[in-house]
């Protein structure tokens, strides 16, 4: 992809770029450079081939649900983070919303006698409210979202521990448990549907356009009349709701509501997935599909190395390198795109 320009003269027109002049092979190569998602898909495929070749159990009916579950949780939350990161913001409190939300559902049913559906709605409304608070403090009071959500991270964690007394609860016995994450792949199906929905919002609606505009050039977007803060606050709410929903799905999956579930672990996985997938923290660009693939890569790496007997310490080492490589590549490729070389 990094073919150097050997011609001394400048390209006659932007279309006359280095890679476009080549044949089919360079056309494919170009697709992988231009489409952010493509290069990471390649990595994911290579990883699958590698792990399957060293351990035939990797793609077995027993192992696949394990990968799917891990990928699903990270991917759903990452979808929300991508929308925020494109707008130049971040939410560190998602892991705590993830833990709080199923407790809201639990107490709404237990203490207030609400039916399951209403309890879920209540949990998601509380999640949305947390997003509203994050967004309002960030956008209207001017506190950087990193700090705002660091604050709410601790606050919500304290809240969850207080209302639960630090004890886990059993998930409610409802007939739709399988739909809400209990069944194998149920969470993964949720993830795919949500990823597609958020991707559609980002790429095909004015909301998505305004999200990119607000992150790419906030002042310019404002001058064009885009309600940048309104869109950002909306994305904070979306991100929180997705975290809350994932918390509920995960509770049904593991059959327990744990006040220590999620936390910074799931938050970092989600942000890693977004970053590996090709979303930059600086704002203005990002991909939701990429976040799903990023989550897949993380899941494959984790599961594959676990099957091989690689311990958690080594895994973090590899994850760190993966994120760095992904980011360096990302920065390099976007610079190439900007200069019109591809």
């Amino acid at each position: 992809m990094a073919q150097p320009t050997t011609e001394p003269e400048a390209p006659a027109a932007p279309e006359e770029s280095v890679l476009r002049r080549g044949g089919a092979a360079t056309a494919i190569l170009r697709a992988f450079v231009v489409r952010r998602e493509a290069s990471i898909v390649l990595v994911a495929i290579a990883l699958v081939i590698y792990f399957q070749s060293v351990n035939s159990n990797f793609l077995s009916a027993g192992n696949l649900p394990v990968i799917a579950q891990f990928v699903a949780a990270a991917a759903i939350i990452a979808a929300g983070e991508v929308m925020l990161m494109i707008g130049g913001e971040i939410d560190l409190s998602v892991g705590q919303v993830f833990a709080l939300s199923p407790f809201i559902m639990f107490f709404a049913m237990e203490d207030y006698g609400l039916p399951f559906a209403f309890a879920v709605v209540a949990a998601l409304l509380v999640s949305a409210f947390i997003g509203l608070v994050n967004g309002t403090i960030t956008c209207l009071l001017g506190v950087p979202s990193f700090i705002t959500t660091l604050g709410t991270l601790f606050l919500i964690n304290g809240l969850t521990l207080t209302i639960s007394d630090g004890f886990p609860r059993a998930v409610p016995d409802v007939s739709v448990a399988n739909i809400f994450g209990a069944a194998n792949y149920s969470e993964f199906i949720w993830a795919v549907v949500i990823i597609l929905a958020v991707h559609t919002v980002l790429r095909l609606t004015p909301w998505g356009l305004h999200t990119v505009a607000g992150g790419g050039n906030p002042l310019g977007a404002r001058e064009a009349g885009v309600r940048v803060n309104y869109v950002k606050i909306g994305n904070f709410m979306l991100c929180s709701v997705l975290a809350g929903l994932t918390g509920i799905l995960e509770a049904f999956q593991i059959d327990s509501i744990d006040p220590l579930a999620g936390g910074t672990g799931i938050m970092f996985q989600a942000i890693s997935a977004a970053v590996i997938g090709g979303t930059a923290l600086a704002g203005g660009s990002g991909t939701v599909i990429g976040a799903l693939v990023g989550a897949l890569v993380l899941g494959i790496l984790r599961n594959g190395f676990t099957l091989q007997g690689v311990d958690a310490f080594t895994f973090d080492l590899i994850l760190g390198i993966a994120i760095l490589v992904a980011m360096i590549l990302n920065v390099y490729l976007s610079r190439m795109r900007r200069q019109g070389k591809v």
Partner: protein
């Protein structure tokens, strides 16, 4: 050209004053813009040009004074409101989004959407952007291109085209030729002329370069210390006179302080 009396004026600003704390940005601005007129607004840094533009475009309200459009007094509540009255500004930073395509930039915040689900009607926007740019003579290779790839002149042209396309009839251009080569600058001046002659658009153009002002404007105003201290048709003035006024004024200011 500009009507000699105030009756045919598209835009009139009377007694506009604005202060920020102890700083007086605008003391008493009286300005008029005739129908199909290009008014050049010149002035040193800190003369109050940016503040005036912001007030005329609804970004901030004046402390005192009034604004009339076609003889009707208006209170510009917001940029959106000003735009609904036909006033639009192409700011220096262009308000273009590098990460978006030419056509998405042109339709930013006035997207064409499908029904019943409000998805972007990209094909329609693309076609209209293409037609419109061709129509006003702006040459862009591909409307799908990210704006980041375009030259300064192309970016400026797109920003101007976007304003006009959204039914602006009073256009404020904030230094449209800043940091631009001669060829590109000529393209923009040509565009300004065409908009006046073919599109019934009245334009206030802020500029530093007197030659550009004399080349394209019908009338020139000089803003100094928050007031307009010079107002002449360009046919009756010259680069020498403009320079003299500015220098004399600077000297007076230095002696006064």
């Amino acid at each position: 050209m500009a009507a000699p009396n105030g009756n045919g004026d598209r835009l009139v600003a009377e007694g506009i004053a604005k202060r920020f704390g102890a700083v007086v940005a605008l003391r008493n601005v009286n300005l008029r813009l005739g129908r199909n007129e290009v008014l050049g607004l010149i002035g040193d840094n800190g003369a109050g040009k940016s503040t005036l533009i912001k007030i005329l475009t609804g970004f901030q309200p004046p402390d005192t004074g009034r604004i009339l459009i076609d003889g009707q007094e208006v209170q510009l509540k917001s940029v959106k409101h000003a735009r609904s009255l036909g006033i639009d500004t192409v700011f220096q930073d262009l308000a273009l989004i590098n990460e978006l395509s030419v056509y998405h930039n042109m339709f930013l915040n006035r997207e064409v959407v499908k029904k019943p689900l409000p998805f972007l009607a990209n094909r329609i926007m693309k076609r209209r952007a293409r037609e419109y740019l061709d129509d006003i003579g702006v040459q862009i290779g591909d409307v799908n291109d990210e704006v980041a790839r375009l030259s300064g002149g192309q970016r400026q042209a797109i920003a101007v085209a976007r304003s006009v396309h959204s039914d602006a009839s009073i256009l404020l251009l904030d230094e449209p030729l800043a940091a631009m080569g001669a060829k590109e600058g000529a393209m923009i001046l040509d565009l300004v002329r065409r908009l006046r002659d073919e599109r019934d658009i009245s334009i206030i153009m802020i500029a530093h370069n007197y030659v550009h002002v004399l080349e394209v404007c019908d009338r020139v105003n000089l803003l100094r210390g928050g007031e307009i201290i010079f107002d002449k048709p360009t046919a009756e003035t010259s680069v020498e006179e403009l320079t003299n006024v500015v220098v004399r004024d600077l000297r007076a200011a230095r002696q006064g302080s």
